[in-house]
Symmetry: C2
Subunit: 235 residues, 2 copies
DNA sequence: CACGCTTGTTAGAAGGTGTAACAGAAGCAT
DNA sequence: ATGCTTCTGTTACACCTTCTAACAAGCGTG
C-alpha cells in the first residue's frame, strides 16, 4: 500500500506539494479557476513565488494535478458507494451510487466545475485524465448494469429482433463495439442506460452547481431524483 | 424597430463597442475565457489599452456583455426555429427546436461554455442574464408543450388522481407554482418534460462541446438524437 | 570532510488590469 | 463663427500575474 520507502527529501517534497495543492483548492473555491495563483499560494506557505516552481513546472501543471486528483477522488467515491451497496437490490445500488455522485459534486462545486466546466485557459486535458473519467463512468455503468432489462415498450415491430440488437440502432452498435474493445461485460442496452445516466445526471448537476435552478424556483434535488427514478424504471 | 435616431457620436460609440465585442469573441474562441484581454483587443483595433476602458468599465463588464449577447442570440435562434416549424407536427417542431439548440452550441462551443461552463473569475451573473436564460427555456418548453400528453405508464394506482396532479409529486407542485407565477399556460406534466429536455440536452451538449465523448468513441449526435426521441415518446 | 543535488532567495522580463493626468477633437449653444 | 463642454484617446504609472536566470545556502551521501 505505502510507497517504496521514500527518502527523507522525497517525503518532504511530497508534503510540500500536497500543501500547495490543498491551498490551491481553497483558492479555487474562493476565487474561481483564474484566481489560483502560484504566487499567492507560495506566500501563504511562507515562500516566495518562484520557490513553488521547484515543485510544479507551471501553473497549468498545478491545475492538471488538481484535476487528476479530483478525477481519482470522484472515481473512488463512486466505487466506494458501489461496494458499500454491493449486496443490496439493484435499484438501491443505483440510488446509492447516483447519490454519491451528487454529494461529491455538491461537496465542492468548484471541483466539479474543474472537471466538467470550462477547461481553464487554452488547456488540453492530458490523456490520463480521460482514463480517469472512464473509471467513474464504469462505476456508474456497473451500478446500472445490475438492473433488470427494461420492458422495451413496443418500439416498431412487437416481435422484432431485440436479440439481434447490434445492427438495430447505430448507437447500440457503437456501444457494442466499445464494450468489446474495453472488455466490458455489458449489453448495449445496459451500456446505453449507463451512458444516458452519465449525461442526464451531469446535465442536472452541471446546472445545479451553477445555481441555474435557483432563479427558477425549482429544487434540483427533485429533478435529480426524478431522473434517477426514470432511469431505474427503464430510460 | 431601429433606435431613436442615435446621435453621430452614439453611433460611432456603438460601432466601436461592437467591434471590440467581436474581437473578444474571436479571442475567446482562440485562447479561452482567460485569454480575453482588454489590452490585446485594443491593440488589434489600433488603440492603446486604456482607451477601451472608455467603452467597457472593466474586463468583467466586457465579458458580461458577451454573455448577454450570447443569451439573446440563443433565445432568438430557438424562437426562430419554433416559428419556422409552427405549422408542422408537434414532434417535428420538437426536432427542429432541439436541432437548433445543438447547432447553436456546436457553431461556437466557446460561446456555449461562456453561458453554461464555469463562470469566469469569481463572477456573479447579473440578474438580467437569468431572465435571458428563461427566454430560451420558454422556447424549448413551448415546442414540447404541443406534444400530446404521454400515456403515463401506470404509476401507482391506475385510476388515481391524475387530474389533481398538483399535490401528487413535490416537483410537479413546484412546477405548477412556477407556471402560475409566470403566467405560462402549461400543465405540470408539460413543464416537467420541458425542464427535463433542458437538463438532458444540456447534459449531452455540455459533454460534447468539451470533447468528452470523443475518447469514448461514441457519436454525440446519436446520443442527442436518442434523448430527443425519448423525450418525444414521453420522457 | 567534501562534493553535489535540492531548495530557497532576489532580480528582472513580459504581459495583464485598471487609474490618473493631460491633449485634442467633436458637438452644441450662443 | 466663437466658446464651452463633453467625449475620446494618449502616456505614465501602480500593482498584479507567470516564469527564467543567477546566486546562496542546506541536506545527504560517498
Amino acid at each position: 500500500m505505502t510507497g517504496p520507502a521514500r527518502s527523507r527529501r522525497q517525503r518532504y517534497r511530497d508534503q510540500t506539494r500536497e500543501e500547495a495543492k490543498q491551498l490551491a483548492m481553497t483558492q479555487l473555491a474562493e476565487l474561481g479557476p483564474t484566481g489560483v495563483s502560484v504566487n499567492a499560494i507560495a506566500k501563504r506557505m511562507g515562500l516566495t513565488g518562484p520557490a513553488l516552481y521547484r515543485y510544479f513546472a507551471s501553473r497549468d501543471d498545478l491545475l492538471t494535478e488538481l484535476i487528476r486528483d479530483a478525477y481519482r477522488d470522484l472515481a473512488e467515491s463512486l466505487e466506494a458507494a458501489g461496494r458499500a451497496s454491493q449486496r443490496r437490490q439493484p435499484a438501491a445500488r443505483v440510488r446509492a451510487v447516483t447519490a454519491a455522485f451528487r454529494e461529491w459534486a455538491l461537496a465542492a462545486p468548484h471541483r466539479y466545475l474543474l472537471l466538467f466546466g470550462t477547461p481553464v485557459p487554452g488547456y488540453a486535458a492530458p490523456p490520463d485524465t480521460v482514463e480517469a473519467a472512464n473509471r467513474s463512468m464504469v462505476a456508474i455503468l456497473d451500478a446500472f448494469s445490475a438492473l433488470p432489462t427494461p420492458p422495451a415498450p413496443a418500439e416498431a415491430g412487437p416481435a422484432e429482433a431485440t436479440d439481434r440488437a447490434d445492427a438495430a440502432d447505430p448507437l447500440d452498435r457503437q456501444l457494442a463495439d466499445l464494450a468489446r474493445r474495453r472488455d466490458l461485460a455489458v449489453t448495449p442496452e445496459q451500456f446505453r442506460r449507463g451512458l444516458l445516466a452519465w449525461t442526464r445526471l451531469h446535465g442536472v448537476l452541471s446546472l445545479e452547481v451553477q445555481n441555474q435552478f435557483a432563479p427558477m424556483g425549482v429544487d434540483p434535488a427533485l429533478v435529480y431524483r426524478a431522473e434517477v427514478e426514470t432511469l431505474i424504471a427503464g430510460g
